[in-house]
């Protein structure tokens, strides 16, 4: 129930909220297992012969399972980005005059510590949408570089589900080798290690992204006093009735 002078607005559908929390859990698992794969940071203190304990194997398995979940949610998010019946996010990142103005206003609001607030905060603004788009681009890069590393294990060109699977992965992800080589800086021939370095560094970019994301949502909640943090739980927030246009 809305307090006097406040109106309740719907911001996230149940599907969007489920995806959000699935992504949160997947991200925690991906980082924890990814760091173990990179440099195993705990010892296996199990007095069993090697064949009975699969500590690295389970970490890799966990990493791949969340990778598959990310694959699926990314496809859904990409679909919603353009075709959602609720709010089509792509409309908010087009560099139209209106979007640029809104972007600048929201940014000004952030750096003037909420002294200036000249935009409508009842709907998802373009600053937020751009910020989320960056996240999904980083995640897409993780997917492509991750699948490139995954296909190295299928060196024979065969897989239990057929030769089409590694062939498709090569077709879809081989471009990440020269692109990573360019980003990381390689000699005349880029190498698959460039892809791995890039996958690892991108993890840090994502973690940094997450830290600011959490801070900013809490900050909005405190200073705007519109209950923004509740969006991701109940799907709604409140705006002052006189502001709602």
């Amino acid at each position: 129930m809305a307090k006097d002078g406040y109106t309740k607005v719907k911001r996230m559908t149940p599907a969007m909220r489920i995806i959000h929390w699935v992504n949160v859990i997947s991200m925690i698992v991906a980082v924890a297992t990814g760091l173990y794969i990179a440099a195993p940071y705990y010892q296996t203190l199990i007095a069993e012969p090697a064949v009975d304990k699969y500590v690295m194997a389970w970490n890799r398995w966990g990493h791949f399972i969340v990778a598959i979940i990310f694959d699926v949610t990314s496809i859904i998010v990409a679909y919603l980005f353009f075709f959602s019946r609720f709010e089509k996010p792509y409309k908010k990142i087009l560099p139209t005059g209106k979007n640029i103005k809104e972007f600048v206003e929201v940014f000004m609001n952030l750096i003037t510590l909420n002294r200036r607030k000249n935009f409508d905060s009842s709907h998802s603004d373009s600053f937020n949408t751009v910020y989320f788009t960056i996240f999904h681009l980083l995640l897409a890069w993780m997917l492509f570089t991750g699948l490139q590393m995954y296909v190295h294990g299928l060196a024979s060109g065969e897989s239990s589900i057929g030769a089409w699977w590694p062939a498709m992965l090569h077709l879809v992800t081989d471009w990440t080798i020269p692109v990573s080589g360019w980003m990381v800086g390689s000699g005349p021939t880029p190498s698959i290690m460039d892809v791995r370095i890039s996958h690892h560094i991108t993890m840090w970019l994502i973690i940094t992204w997450v830290v600011f994301h959490i801070y900013y949502q809490v900050w909005r909640t405190i200073f705007w006093q519109e209950g923004d943090i509740a969006i991701v739980v109940g799907g709604t927030k409140f705006v002052k009735s006189d502001e709602k246009k």
Binding site: P40, Y54, A167, D174, P188, T189, L205, F223
Partner: protein, 413 residues
Amino acid sequence: MGMDKQESVKKLFTAQSAKVDTNRGDAYYEALYAKCQERLDALKKLTPLNNRRDFMTTIEDEGLERRDFLKWASATTAMLMLPASFTPLVAEAATLMNRVPVIWIELSDCAGNSEALLRSDGPKIDEIILDIISLEFHETLQAASGHQAEKQMEEAMEHFKGKYLLFVEGAVPLGMDGQFGTIGAKGETFVDHLHRAAEGAAAVVAVGSCATYGGIPAAAPNPTDAVGVMDVVKGKPIINIPACPANPSNMVGVILHFVLTGSIPELDSLLRPKFAFGYRIHDNCERRAHFDAGEYVEEWGDEGAKNNFCLYKMGCKGPMTFNNCSIIRYNEGVNWPIGVGRGCIGCSEPDFWDKYAYERPMANANIKAPTGGVEKTVDQFGLGLLTAAGIGIGIHAAASAIAGKKEHEKEEA
């Protein structure tokens, strides 16, 4: 650097998996068999060139038996992914190795691959074969020098035009118009030397990682602007046999394939023969069970090391390296790096010196920033980024709190 745009776009979409079709049906192998036989018959009619040593007598001189040779022939047939029925042909091809002229040039290198090829301590069949090949020109091995050597090379190139295999060892320095490396009495640059030698070659074989990708001379900061043969020679079949040094078995495999079929073996996207580089070290490593179990050597000589645990945390790059040493090993199968208790340094991959050989997991190794300057590990870089973000957020939060408080006081007043 080097590669033009069109070429790199083409490369982007043509990477092939390492898959070699090992069962192409009887019709294919019958046709191939006939073709190989025809070729061997033709080669038999030629008299040996420079090298007149007879293969079988050499084998016996070295104290090996015919049975050893036949065992070798069947193993090599399998390595080349041919059906067992080809074994007699492979054996015959081996005895005809001296019919195919080889010119071997050295550029920015340490002669380590020549060294591998000539390993004289109890030569095994692979090494004997490499002794027998018709080395028409090899700067390090021949007696001739100066103008005389130059003349010899010119004669060999002229005489065997379009027929010889050119083996190149070492990187090609391109900086300062190639003046970082010159050779011969005329002071010809390595680039020009390579172009001249490649001109009349049937195929160019780059041996070792330096000739393949630039290798050690191309390691950061690459002062001579060194690149590999494939970055310089265009319009010729090129076969790369990287590794440091290249495994003599793989050199023999390539030459044998050429002697036998007159063509080059199937190659992967880095132009490496798939029969040798179609395997990942990690997938054929005897320590793999320890990897999956999470049992790692933590420091040299610890309990894990004594129990042959996985070398991943000591920087093994087997998971990122394609080569067949985990299968065929070195020195006729005696042992290989991981077998003796040290990690793989990825010697057959591009940029191996900078990106694989640091003997620590990648996450703990110093990596150059794209700008080339600071060296930090990826995790230090990441934590730095995170700290910067944390400081920014802290300042913003504190400022917001103070500003909020002032606002509040104003309202109350």
